[in-house]
């Protein structure tokens, strides 16, 4: 399985044709689909068409870009022009966007080819990829277990070698957590680093596009292609994006780099396997020259309620438009009037977890409750941001588990939303604060399940995370992010 960087080089030099690469990716996607259900749409026609064009342009001597012929998978809540984008919701089951998300546009301009749209938890709401109108996704390391979510399909596509790069979205850990559960890299950049234009909103102040991949080099290349201000997104960062590729080639060791373990998140509550993975990473970091220390973020454990309040409140607003008027099939057209049609359509076209979050979010924003819930959540959010900022006065990077556990059996937490929500305890902090965070593979547990650890970087220093990932990758070698068995 070649990396994206290698594919780009080989296709550009004419040693392999884009069509061969893309056809192989499509075949592999089909092969995995039956058992793992990672995809909502496999884009045979458009992908081959695009690959053919790339080959023609190369034959004509054109420069197609660094991702020439690289097959990619895009989470199905990211719009792709002419290719249905469902967000795994019944309400968008037939929505074909007339435009592509800026991130997709930029990847395609660099030569990448979208081969499939990945399954996910409906609108990104879930941590196990079981909340999908298109069925659950399964973990390739153990098909009785969840792959994580909400970017479960994207993670599986990378873990099984269908593509070297997949896009996910990360609102509270939705890229990093499935990354950890499937043994691949899951990167959530600084809020605003990647354009949200064309990303079907779940919680706008937390949503960020992220990358799932198996090598630091591929991560850097895709980030270099996608990052940079987008005038279509008012929250997009202005100014020049960091040079990610340079962060990989320039990384030598971690001498003098201070890594802080967040006390509140690295003790009780984590499984033995997770603790072992964390210790293993610590050893590696020390071998690379890093200085480890404990730091305190006293409010860290209050992140979960704050995060869920903010996310649900924003979701209740963002999802108000799915009312049966435009997208989903309409129900209740019985002359009872517009309000009834809207209510019935929403009830029948949105899944139970989505409805739960809309209801709770609506409540949190209601007159008389705003201050007690949403307002308070914003205060906690600011407090955590302040504490993390202070922690970064002492250390250069923060380290925690990515998730307190490894992949759990399908169905285990379906009826216990609270237990499911608690799985975001480590990841949601970076979204609340808006900083970059990454889940890096950290070996396997005794039951042969992959496990990752999470690094967070100070504001705007995304490239530091790519650098540390590159060093760990080099240090571990071949076994850093092995392909899942098929």
């Amino acid at each position: 399985m070649m990396t994206a960087v290698e594919i780009g080089r080989q296709v550009a030099s004419g040693r392999v044709r884009a069509q061969e690469i893309v056809r192989a990716a499509l075949e592999r996607a089909e092969l995995t689909q039956v058992e793992l259900n990672a995809f909502i749409t496999i884009a045979h026609e458009s992908a081959l068409e695009q690959a053919e064009k790339i080959d023609e342009r190369l034959a004509a001597g054109e420069d197609v870009g660094p991702l020439a012929g690289v097959p990619i998978v895009v989470k199905d809540n990211i719009c792709t022009e002419g290719l249905r984008s469902t967000a795994a919701s019944e309400s968008l089951a037939s929505f074909v966007p007339p435009y592509s998300a800026t991130v997709v546009e930029r990847l395609e301009q660099a030569g990448a080819v979208v081969v499939a749209k990945a399954n996910l938890d409906e609108f990104g709401m879930g941590s196990s990829n079981e909340n999908s109108a298109f069925g659950a996704v399964k973990n390739p390391w153990d098909t009785s277990r969840v792959p994580g979510g909400s970017s479960g399909g994207s993670a599986v596509a990378v873990a099984t070698g269908v593509v070297p790069i997949a896009l996910g979205t990360d609102t509270g850990g939705s890229v990093r957590q499935p990354g950890s559960f499937t043994g691949v890299i899951g990167f959530k950049p600084t809020y605003g680093r990647l354009s949200r234009y064309g990303v079907i909103a779940y919680a706008s102040s937390l949503d960020q596009v992220g990358v799932l991949c198996r090598s630091a080099e591929d991560l850097a290349l895709s980030m270099d292609v996608m990052a940079g201000h987008d005038p279509k997104d008012a929250t997009s960062l202005a100014g020049v994006a960091p040079a990610f590729a340079k962060a990989v080639t320039g990384a030598s060791d971690l001498t003098g780099v201070r890594v802080g373990l967040i006390e509140e998140l690295t003790g009780e509550g984590n499984s033995a396997g997770v603790m072992a993975a964390l210790e293993l990473t610590c050893e590696r970091l020390v071998q690379l020259g890093a200085e480890l220390q404990q730091v305190s973020v006293p409010t860290a454990r209050d992140g979960i309620p704050a995060y869920y309040l903010v996310a649900m409140a924003e979701a209740s607003s963002n999802l108000a438009r799915y009312d049966g008027m435009v997208y989903s099939s309409r129900t209740g057209e019985d002359r009872l009037g517009q309000a009834d049609v809207m209510m019935k359509s929403r009830g029948s076209s949105l899944g139970p977890e989505v409805r739960r979050r809309i209801l709770m979010g609506t409540y949190a924003l209601s007159a008389g409750y705003y201050d007690a819930y949403y307002g308070k959540a914003l205060k906690v959010r600011r407090l955590i941001a302040h504490e993390i900022e202070r922690a970064f006065e002492e250390v250069d990077l923060l380290l925690t588990p990515t998730v307190p556990s490894v992949a759990y059996p399908l169905g285990e937490k379906v009826d216990d939303p609270l237990a499911m929500y608690l799985g975001d305890i480590d990841t949601c902090l970076a979204n609340l604060v808006g900083i970059a965070a990454i889940s890096v593979p950290a070996g396997f547990t005794a039951e042969r399940l992959p496990c990752g650890v999470q690094f967070m970087a100070p504001a705007l220093q995304d490239e530091r995370l790519v650098g540390v990932t590159a060093l760990l990758e080099r240090h571990v070698g071949e076994k850093f992010a092995p392909l899942a068995p098929l």
Partner: protein, 469 residues
Amino acid sequence: MFEAVIGLEIHLALRTGSKMFCGCAAESLGLLPNVNTCPVCLGLPGSLPVVNREAIEKALRFSLALNCQVPEVTQFHRKHYYYPDAPKNYQISQFDRPVGEHGFVELEAGRRIGVTRCHVEEDAGRSVHPPYAPYSLVDLNRAGAPLIEMVTEPDLRTPEEAREFLVKIRAIAQALDVSDASPEAGKMRADVNVSIRLPGEALGTKVEVKNLNSFKSVQNALAFEIKRQTDLLESGRSVLQETRGWNEGGQRTYSMRSKEETADYRYFPDPDLPPMRVAEKWLETVRAATPELPDAKRERYRELGLRAFDAGLIAFDVELATFFDRAVRVYEGEAQLLANWLNGDVAGHLNANDLALSRSKLSPENLASLLTLVDEGAISGKTAKDVLPLVIDGGDPKTIVEERGLKQITDLGAIEALVDAVIAANPAVVERVKENPKVINVLLGQVMKESRGKAKPDAVRELLNEKLG
């Protein structure tokens, strides 16, 4: 005796190139339904709003003109309500950080009417209900068009004051190029809040009246409501807090809904739009680009010698003012004369032909030249009035007077010959003049007739007096 307490809520369509948060044209007059749309104003999944800077600048300009305080940071909120012509089921509006607060507008009598706030928001689409059809249709051409909403303090006391206030707001909006502010074209809408009380007492129960699409309706609806509420209280009944509509045909308000429960719009800061810092430097450029306000204009016209009435009339009509300013630049006579013509004969002719000044072919230069011909004695005022329709149709006054031979006879010798001839031909009349000097007018008329109106009447009268007096 009860007094009325009136507050206004005014919506103005901002005149900008594009909509509030996307690149579609702000104006969609005359277009087929749903063609002036894009993913953003359609609220398609994944689309994001981006603030139209021009709209904010015009809103700031307007706020400053209403003497508002402009906060350092202005912010957009989402206002939620479910309706098919609101594509996102929320409206992007402003809540606690509007573009302007705590302003005022001064009425003619010098009374200040408080402006509570001015904020920017996006318009909704339009629902169409075809007659007898079991469905409704939605046109989103207007969705996302930029609006200013301004709210006054309950400082107005009479329907006439409310109307004066609206006229003033329209004049300001037009002068600043903020809005066409035409109620007829749906570019200015007003809702009113009205209650009555005995002077000095606490506020009474207020009633909101909607669907007012002209200043006249506002005035009439207020007069009706004040009467209705007065009758209720005087007959010992009480006023119900409710929203009422205005029936234009019947000239009466009617109950739409009672206000027993207020809507919960679940306002919260729009996370797609970071708060905007309004730097002092930005405000300075806005101030610098602000055209002359109607009050300042009126003051200037007074200084030019215009009567208060004419100065106000012209200053508060952006079309008239622009025309007047151009005419006065080339006209060397008295500005008041220009105003007399503009507000008199010109307005009369345009009204009679249902023509707007801007749509007519009358140029300020031609009007000035017509008046100059009168001033120079080349034609009489009467002749000028006669040819005005031709000038309004685009004719050049000098050419018209030349071609039609309308120039006055100013040669005294020629006039004297005519006078002598008329005296000689009318001995009986001349006899009667000796008894009654007023009869001289008969001879005057005769001379004018002989000269086909071109003799200068003053000169003729002088000669007749000389010869018969």
